[in-house]
Symmetry: C2
Subunit: 218 residues, 2 copies
């Protein structure tokens, strides 16, 4: 049993939090206010296992926190937590900097010469940021076996090797085959992981099915 924090109460945050509870862990779901309806419902669903609180409480609760906030909001969320509360914490960044403010299709608010994950790492060097799981729909993040016998790929990148190793272990506990977790190197690889999203969105649009992933064939 471990403890985890989850930032964000949307579909991704709920899916991750639910899986962690399933696996026997304790989870605090952090949000902007103490009366967030989804976070309260989550906290009530597994007494003694699931909790709610502010974003900062997620980092008080655990050394490992999943960033499941909207990518365009993530930096503000972490600013609200405060640098002093982020020291040596592992942030698993699942978010994509999708900007819907100019209509469809969304653009990326950061890309090409940087990425959301690098922006977070740069502003909060006391955090250990690992980019992971951002390239699939959240249902597949926590249940890769639901398609193709679970034999398809996911990616990780980050500057801290031991943090990345811990994330790989968590991915294996989620059902990912170790051979299919491709370590792309340092956090600059997050550019590629995030810039894949426009293609992901068009594949979804063409196939009308978000429950897909890619398998590297060689």
């Amino acid at each position: 049993m471990s403890t985890f924090g989850v930032l964000g109460t949307g579909a991704v945050g709920q899916m991750i939090a639910g899986k962690l509870i399933d696996l026997g862990h304790e989870v605090l779901m952090g949000s902007r206010t103490m009366d967030n309806e989804k976070a309260l419902k989550f906290a009530g669903s597994f007494p003694g296992k699931s909790f709610n609180g502010l974003f900062a409480d997620a980092f008080q609760f655990s050394d490992i926190v999943f960033n499941c906030t909207h990518g365009v909001a993530s930096l503000d969320v972490l600013r609200s937590v405060g640098k002093e509360n982020l020291r040596d914490k592992l942030l698993i960044d699942l978010s994509n900097p999708l900007d819907f403010s100019h209509g469809m299709p969304p653009t990326l608010s950061i890309c090409n010469t940087s990425s959301l994950a690098e922006s977070i790492q740069s502003e909060f060097p006391e955090l250990k940021v690992v980019k992971a799981l951002n390239t699939t729909w959240c249902g597949i993040m926590v249940n890769p076996g639901m398609i193709g016998g679970g034999d398809h790929n996911t990616f990780v990148s980050g500057h801290d090797e031991s943090a990345k190793q811990r994330v790989k272990e968590i991915l294996v506990s989620f059902g990912w085959m170790e051979k299919n977790i491709l370590d792309l190197g340092d956090l600059t690889a997050a550019r590629g992981m995030e810039m894949y999203l426009p293609l992901w969105l068009r594949i979804w649009g063409a196939t009308k099915n978000g429950a897909f992933n890619v398998k590297i064939v060689s």
Copy 2:
């Protein structure tokens, strides 16, 4: 037997031209000058089947031209051909706007709110631009069977349906299975196809093997 033009004499242009000759077609490889060494060698290799010339000659020679120039040079190449020579021609755009001028990793000179293919289409509305084949190493473009029994995906996008249909037929003649050629819709999908390149480059870097592709699992 059909005729095709190929713009560019690099690895991609040579691979495409060679495959077209293999399939029994006639090909003119266009370049900046009449004395381009690679184009002359190609022209001499299959007498009566392979020819060389200027970029503009490729469009004189055929109604279907592959753009295999460097992405950052493609617009200048087409400007040198002249709008009057591009009317109703089909341009199959294989290029990626990779900018190596700031070192490694390359950035994209156009992305997010547009793409190379859209930039070409916008400046030359008389062309029918179809984006295709830009998501794999050129060896796989013309020989998909070399990996995974040929069972992996390639993408097409473009505004003109009949032009896209013609490109799909060409891809099938190259060995792509029809079920694996995913039509992503209009040419705005070229953003996703080109923005996949940073991920492609990191997968190549991590696996040390450029002879890979992705298969959509669902």
